[in-house]
Assembly symmetry: C2
Homo-oligomer: 438 residues x 2
């Protein structure tokens, strides 16, 4: 019925090596689950001499990506180069040549969603990207298929393993800098860790999740993004000991009651007994709430050679099955939704967010400081739920932690601007949103 | 391209009502995600007069299941009757009539897997059953698609919400009987709770999971099954306080090093800081380990009207999409594997299991009892890791808890037989296996 499906790889780094390893170890599964034979046709990388510890026919290797894209026998192109260019050019060219594409490239999808999706649609080519979010966790497919009958009400994702590793280490008492250095030493963090710790990587993944969940393309610039680099080990400790909460870097995509969506990335205090609080180290987890199914959670390794390769190859199997059945390129897919269909869901500005907050003031140890802070908060209609005061860390400087009842973000911001200008304030106030995740 | 797909329901109870509710609330999603129009064609139930609180055209209702199966316009039959007959007869008839079938019927699938799958294959009809395991959690699909490139090494499932609810209540100090009565009062447990608390329901689901994971049909009679009805609140308390472990009713399907599979259902002590220990109340959770992806976890509501309906309708969407594309009935699917393909994976007899165990002896308070117990264990080569002795509960009777190092089940059973015959033994010894879940 079929002559088999040939796959070309662009990029033979960590994940690409994992993909070749799965082709080596699991031919039986690839055939059983796709109904056809799937083989590697070509592998392109700038470095084709380094030993990856995996056996491949050396005649498959090339330094020329075009040779993969233009090979008439190759029906599926797997892009594992990462970054915007040259990956973007290769993907568009492959789609236009009628190749189906599998990619793990979250930055590219987040930044150029419309162009890539419309090129795929116009070319009757499929594009799949399970590995772009949550590594090996099959959450893209869950949103597309397993939870298909659900209007998604909210997604709360721990989707950056590096940041979660750093927070887990800080909970053990390490400083942010120590934890980051350890993550780098262990290979979990890039030399330039900004995308991980400042929230950019989480934002990229969240933009993709929002598109899947709401059929709504959110521009990266519409996402409010904060990282974890302002947190101290003490924030994490106080959260746990005084409030029974954990601090996690969350990507949040949520429908509001008035038909808007919230799409935001920031550290958040979550209940200490919530399942998401038990997600430690480099693991990822997505808490997804549907109107029919209720709360669900998907957990697993968010990065690494074999978990990410698992997601990539699951997409390859899916496409190969469709090629085998003669329907590839025609599979209805909610993420091809034209933008117009979702224009009724505007992004709520972060200033309009209503939330509880944890505020950490760093002030001079003077009589009446708490009263003054409370007074300024009160002027903005903000009421206090709890105050935690600790001993002075160094001469005359104390941290004061205040948990406030629900308030509007812009009121909190305004109050903090005033407080941060007061003579008793030593350091800008840190605010962390409190999320119930429900 | 398509004239739309008509669906017939057999059984309009709780889940059937949820399905009609989704058809009412989420027509937009059904159309977007399937590419076609999906409508309800007929609904059969013995009682078509009771108000379900959901609007349906009364002309769709019938008391005659045959009218659904034989309706030439209906392409998908959803079976939500449950139990073996008449559900089995209806499903076989529908498949033979070329209808695709969606079912939530775990007992039927577990008991008659081969007959149902081969009838589907011979009729070029699809059968989907996401709702049969884990309610709304899309785990069947994850095994079939999202984790497709993985050789599944192990599945550990909390897949009976009633049993998990009872254990959660016992942790708060209720007796088994009190917790069961409360579960029944809240509608979580059937009037006859045997299938839930004695492990039969978990076994049915595990048989299905094993078929998905290993492509291997396991006969229900090959599964070792124990329930939770022998546990006391004290076992749960000691586990937590003395051993930092939780007791959960697990369904376990696991590959052994010597190419066998373990397929067993029993209460198990698991690490207190494991994610599966944080699964409380009626929630379900499946911890699935693949050779590429590593550990993953899928969590959500394992029962109830809307979660189960979510899973049912996700299957309906999938089939409707395939009908729309003209490939329904031809989708390669690992669970159609002929039995022969899996004969190399025999089920390991429970007597051969190697595990750590928690043993609770109930003995007369006499000098030298622990030494005698230790002696008998030692004769079987079993060594002790920890002993917990509590005060006498009632006159002269004490529980003694012993944790033993890894031992073979048959040696433990033999030692306990000897111990239970000793004059100091008041009550048969309880043994609970200790699982690391990794």
């Amino acid at each position: 019925m079929s002559q088999g499906v040939k796959v070309g790889l662009l990029g033979w780094g960590t994940v690409g090596t994992g993909v070749t390893r799965i082709f080596q170890n699991s031919q039986d599964l690839l055939a059983k689950r796709s109904g056809t034979t799937i083989t590697l046709g070509k592998i392109a990388d700038l470095d084709i001499t380094r030993d990856r510890g995996v056996k491949v026919d050396r005649s498959l290797l090339t330094t020329n990506a075009e040779a993969v894209i233009q090979d008439p026998e190759i029906q599926i192109v797997v892009e594992l180069i990462g970054g915007i260019e040259p990956a973007k050019g290769f993907i568009l060219k492959a789609l236009k040549a009628g190749k189906h594409v599998v990619t793990a490239n979250k930055a590219l999808l987040a930044e150029h969603w419309d162009e890539i999706m419309s090129t795929a649609r116009d070319s009757s080519a499929d594009i799949y990207f399970e590995a772009a979010v949550g590594g090996g966790i099959p959450v893209v497919q869950a949103l597309n298929d397993g939870l298909a009958p659900n209007h998604i009400q909210g997604i709360f994702g721990i989707i950056n393993g590096t940041a979660n590793y750093i927070l887990s280490q800080m909970k053990k008492g390490q400083s942010f800098d120590e934890a980051l250095a350890e993550a780098q030493a262990k290979g979990f963090a890039e030399a330039d860790p900004a995308l991980d710790v400042k929230g950019g990587d989480t934002m990229h993944k969240l933009v993709i999740l929002a598109a899947m969940a709401f059929g709504r393309r959110v521009a990266p610039s519409d996402v409010h993004v904060e990282g974890i680099d302002q947190l101290t080990a003490q924030d994490i400790l106080y959260a746990r000991e005084e409030l029974d909460k954990e601090i996690k870097l969350l990507g949040i995509a949520k429908q509001t009651k008035d038909k808007q969506v919230q799409v935001r990335v920031h550290p958040a205090l979550i209940p200490g007994d919530h399942l998401m609080s038990a997600v430690h180290g480099v693991y990822n987890s997505l808490y997804v709430i549907g109107d029919a199914v209720g709360p669900t959670m998907f957990y697993g390794k968010g990065a690494g050679e074999m978990p990410t390769a698992s997601a990539v190859v699951s997409d390859v199997i899916f496409i190969a099955r469709n090629i085998h059945m003669g329907v590839a390129g025609n599979v209805p897919s909610v993420y091809y939704l034209p933008q117009a269909a979702a224009d009724s869901l505007p992004v709520e500005p972060i200033a309009e967010l209503v939330s509880q907050y944890y505020l950490r003031f760093t002030v001079k140890e003077e009589i009446g400081v708490i009263a003054k802070i409370a007074g300024i908060l009160s002027e903005k209609g903000i009421s206090i739920e709890a105050v935690i005061q600790k001993d002075a860390h160094k001469e005359n400087v104390v941290p004061i932690m205040i948990v406030i009842h629900q308030a509007k973000e812009k009121d909190v911001t305004a109050a903090l601007e005033t407080i941060d200008k007061m003579p008793f304030t030593v350091q800008p106030t840190l605010k962390i949103r409190i999320e119930d995740i429900d």
